[in-house]
Amino acid sequence: MDNQKYPIPDLSYLRELTEGDEESMKEIISIFLEEAPKLMIMMKESAEANDHEKLKFATHKLITQLTYVGVNSIVPEVKLINSGSVNMKDLDERIDRIIIVIENSITYLKGLI
């Protein structure tokens, strides 16, 4: 995967919240690394099953966590799915794009801890 295609996670918000505490930052990143794959699977499966309530729940949880670890570029897209997935004809494509960015970010973040 070409890392240069996707923006590097911006950790400035997390650094501000933790006041630069490295241990706390690593802990939040670890939680993201543990939770994000589960939420991606939940997104994918609920979209395929047309379970929009479950999809709403998954995207809702993802929004905050993406913001913590600075994967900001896809947050507007996730919010759109969260608020209006029912009428999206290209829902699967959108989710695939989001998953690629998250996977790329996970690779980057793993290198930090």
Partner: protein
């Protein structure tokens, strides 16, 4: 207001570990104690066990969502006063409004701004502290008032009996003993003692009644067909004795044959106080008039004196329970400041109003009315 953050516990409720971790970190650094719960059901259990001071509550959670948690807490009187700040990524106007409908004290959108979060928490804590200060002060004030009223009541009640007995003895003495038998000086002392005893009895009687009325222990006991003229004559007759010591003449002007439904004791106390005041502020050898006037549905009873009158400044202080206003009579008689307050209260309880007019140096007229509508023609 000095707030010690260590005294306050904040419950963080969120199913995302990262949120819980960050919130706990920030709130602990601000000095507050924290507790956490990962879903709504656990949050309710924690509230029951530990009763936190403030709750930060996520909305979208498994098992039980934040709105349901808030609803259950607001339904339980024991926990309904715990402020809730909703903390949610659901941040449309509709979501925020719904949060407040469920009883939120505030609403913070996720991802949150650190300073905003702490400012809003501090604000809620300062409101809690202010509320607790008010509750403590209210409780202290309540206890002080109860203690004061009990003290007044005990003093007034326990002293009233013996003073009433002394008063009776004094009245017998003053009516039986002639000045020439004991000498002018001794007779004057006896007269003074008689007046002081009478004043003391009136004071204790007023004190007892005022305390009872203010503590809700004085019921208004209405009696049917109270003969108003009989009531007035009875009070005037007793007061004539007091007035004679000051060579003041009490004149009853007018008459009525109407009856009313009133509390006799309150009516007598009101009239007694007004006549007593009129005598107190009258000069020697003057008159006090008790004037009875009939109107369509009520009777007006006025007590008029031609004494010192009341200055404009002092007139504004009358009838105000929070201002202790009393002044000396023409013979340096002391007062408690309770008489007019009692009159006002008792007249009002009997469906009337107490009014007055006064001109300094010319005298005062206090007038109250008694409703007699149901007894017209009786």
């Amino acid at each position: 207001m000095d707030i010690n953050n260590h005294d306050y516990t904040i419950l963080i409720v969120d199913d995302v570990d990262a949120n819980v971790l960050l919130l706990r970190l920030l709130i602990s650094k601000a000095g507050y104690k924290t507790m956490t719960a990962l879903n709504g059901r656990d949050a309710l259990e924690t509230v029951k066990k530990h009763k936190p001071d403030l709750i930060l509550l996520d909305i979208m959670m498994p098992v039980m969502d934040g709105h349901e948690v808030a609803r259950k807490l607001k339904e339980t009187p024991e926990y309904s006063d715990i402020p809730i700040i909703f903390l949610s990524a659901l941040n449309s106007t509709e979501d925020v409004v719904q949060g407040f409908r469920f009883g939120a004290a505030d609403y913070i959108s996720k991802p949150f701004n650190k300073d905003e979060l702490l400012t809003r928490i501090n604000h809620q804590i300062s409101l809690i502290e202010a509320q607790r200060i008010i509750q403590r002060q209210t409780e202290e004030l309540r206890k002080t008032i109860i203690g004061r009223d009990k003290l007044y009541s005990v003093i007034a009640h326990d002293l009233r009996g013996p003073i009433a007995s002394i008063r009776m003895v004094m009245e017998v003495l003053i009516s039986e003993i002639k000045p020439e038998n004991i000498g002018e000086d001794m007779y004057e002392l006896l007269t003074m003692a008689n007046r002081l005893t009478d004043d003391s009895f009136s004071l204790l009687d007023n004190l007892l009644k005022w305390t009872k009325s203010q503590t809700g222990r004085l019921n208004t006991v209405f009696q049917d067909d109270v003969d108003i003229m009989n009531l007035i004559n009875g009070v005037v007759e007793v007061q004539k004795g007091v007035a004679s010591l000051k060579k003041v003449k009490i004149n009853v002007v007018g008459s009525t044959n109407r009856s009313a439904r009133i509390d006799i004791d309150m009516a007598k106390t009101s009239l007694r106080n007004l006549i007593s005041n009129a005598i107190k502020f009258s000069y020697e050898n003057s008159n006090v008039d008790v004037v009875i006037e009939e109107a369509e549905d009520r009777i007006y009873i006025a007590v008029r004196d031609y004494g010192t009158g009341i200055s404009k400044d002092n007139q504004e202080k009358l009838f105000q329970p929070d201002i202790h206003f009393t002044s000396y009579g023409t013979d340096n008689e002391e007062g408690s400041g309770l008489g007019l307050l009692i009159c006002n209260e008792f007249v009002r309880r009997n469906g009337g109003r107490l009014k007055f007019t006064s001109t300094e140096g010319e005298g005062s007229t206090f007038v109250f009315d008694i409703p007699t509508a149901h007894y017209l023609g009786s």
